[in-house]
């Protein structure tokens, strides 16, 4: 286990910058966001959580696949290849680190491997960063409800936590181990600090956010039973605007659209995020749209995360980071809906 002092964090950042690309939270107008760091001094760990989720490190909002020229032959079209330097994704909260494992199911776990996701994932070392368990959680978070600890190292390669003015770092995976061993700006941690680290990880499991823990299977079953109760869904979607804010900030929403953008004869075929909340998401070429109503779309979103996903992959596709709740223009809270469903 290693440590460094918080005010020397820029030394660590500089060392990582020397080894590859560093992506860390940066303060912007509307809040913190993960951005590529160009200057070691930019790294700032005084954030609660980022506005946008770190999924864009592996699944950027826009990903180019093919570039072409309409005046040339199809054979001249160029596949866009990724040539990545090692990437260090720095300061990922435990709930978000967990989200990468859920996303892995879709982009590589089911047998169909997305080469872009895979390459990005392989090139990246995730530095998890514990929530401060001595201050209460943000009113929108509910990760503990989904069995994620406030200092859960799962999903990270290296896990970090603050202790006073010190930053403790512990390797979680072999990848993290090799990296930590090669970093010279870090000092070895004492036995006392080791103990503190383990105690905090354990204490983080008892840290409570909103709601009480419920079994995945129970939620999944209940939502399945409710699926055809249109009245229930209509009621909960009365406020929903059907915009895409919740899905775009969500770390586990992975729907996308493939579209062509052209400028005169030049074109690019790219993947961009799409959202199940958009009216045209399910619009078919025939003109038929199976989900024209807001309640159908919101039902899809909730049932997909908490019911279908559990049935198919055995895990809820939500990590309780609270981003959708924080960013909903009309204050809809996704877990309150699940809670209501359980009571219905």
């Amino acid at each position: 286990m290693k440590k460094t002092s918080i005010n020397k964090i820029s030394d660590l950042a500089a060392e990582l910058l020397g080894k590859g690309t560093l992506v860390a939270p940066v303060k912007e107008d509307a809040g913190f966001n993960f951005r590529e760091i160009s200057n070691a001094g930019q790294v700032d760990l005084n954030f609660y959580n980022t506005l946008m989720s770190p999924k864009s490190a592996f699944f950027p909002q826009t990903e180019d696949f093919v570039r072409y020229d309409k005046n040339k032959s199809v054979l001249d079209a160029q596949c866009v290849d990724l040539n990545l330097k090692p990437v260090f994704l720095f300061g990922v909260r435990p709930c978000d680190a967990k989200s990468f494992q859920i996303m892995d199911i879709h982009f590589s776990g089911t047998g169909v491997v997305d080469p872009y996701w895979k390459k990005r994932r392989e090139a990246t070392t995730v530095f998890g960063y514990a929530f401060d368990i001595n201050t209460p959680a943000d009113g929108a978070d509910f990760y503990s409800t989904l069995n994620i600890g406030a200092a859960d190292p799962e999903g990270s390669d290296v896990f970090m936590m603050k202790r006073g003015d010190e930053l403790l770092l512990k390797a979680v995976t072999p990848k993290g181990e090799t990296l930590l061993a090669s970093l010279t700006s870090l000092a070895d941690a004492s036995a006392d600090e080791q103990k503190y680290f383990d105690d905090t990880v354990a204490a983080g499991r008892d840290f409570k956010t909103r709601f009480t823990c419920v079994d995945d299977k129970v939620i999944a079953k209940k939502l399945e039973d409710l699926f055809h109760k249109t009245e229930f869904w209509e009621k909960i979607s009365d406020a929903c605007l059907s915009c895409g804010a919740c899905t775009f900030v969500c770390p586990t929403c992975y729907c996308f659209d493939i579209c062509d953008e052209t400028l005169f004869s030049k074109g690019v075929r790219r993947r961009v995020w799409d959202a199940c909340m958009f009216t045209d998401f399910t619009l078919e070429a025939s003109g038929h749209n199976p989900r024209t109503k807001v309640y159908q779309r919101l039902r899809q979103k909730i049932c997909h995360k908490y019911s279908f996903h559990v049935r198919k992959y055995g895990v809820i596709s939500c990590v309780g980071c609270g981003r959708c709740t924080r960013n909903c223009p009309v204050n809809i809270d996704i877990f309150s809906i699940v809670d209501e469903a359980l009571k219905a």
Binding site: E36, S56, Q61, E63, D64, T262, R270
Partner: protein, 145 residues
Amino acid sequence: MDFEPKILGIACNWCTYTGADLAGTTRLQYPQNLRVVRVMCSSRINPSFIFRAFQLGADGVLVGGCHPGDCHYNTGNLYARRRLAVTRKILEFAGIEPGRFRVEWISASEGNKFAEVVTEFTEQVRNLGPQTKFKIEQLPTPEKI
């Protein structure tokens, strides 16, 4: 090299376009920077055409229609006048020089006026230099993250 502005002209079928024809048949000289698109009426012009033209590289946009009261469809240009006035304000607030966008009423018999307006507008845009703010230089590449 001298800057030759690219100017998009959108002309209504019944007046300005015919006026342009007249300018041609009477062999009036005017700069060749204008590329004219014919529409049935000035009110057919969707303001997005103008935004898009600037994005696709126009240095100036000239809209021509019948004189108010003379529109083939009676009131088309009276709606267009209000609408395009707003377009102009939007361009201006976004930071485009208002001199790059102009609306003129040119009747079918005003070949002279057509040539004059085009000459004058071309010079005006030439003096403003290339329009780079809206222009899409190349297909964007996605941001790093």
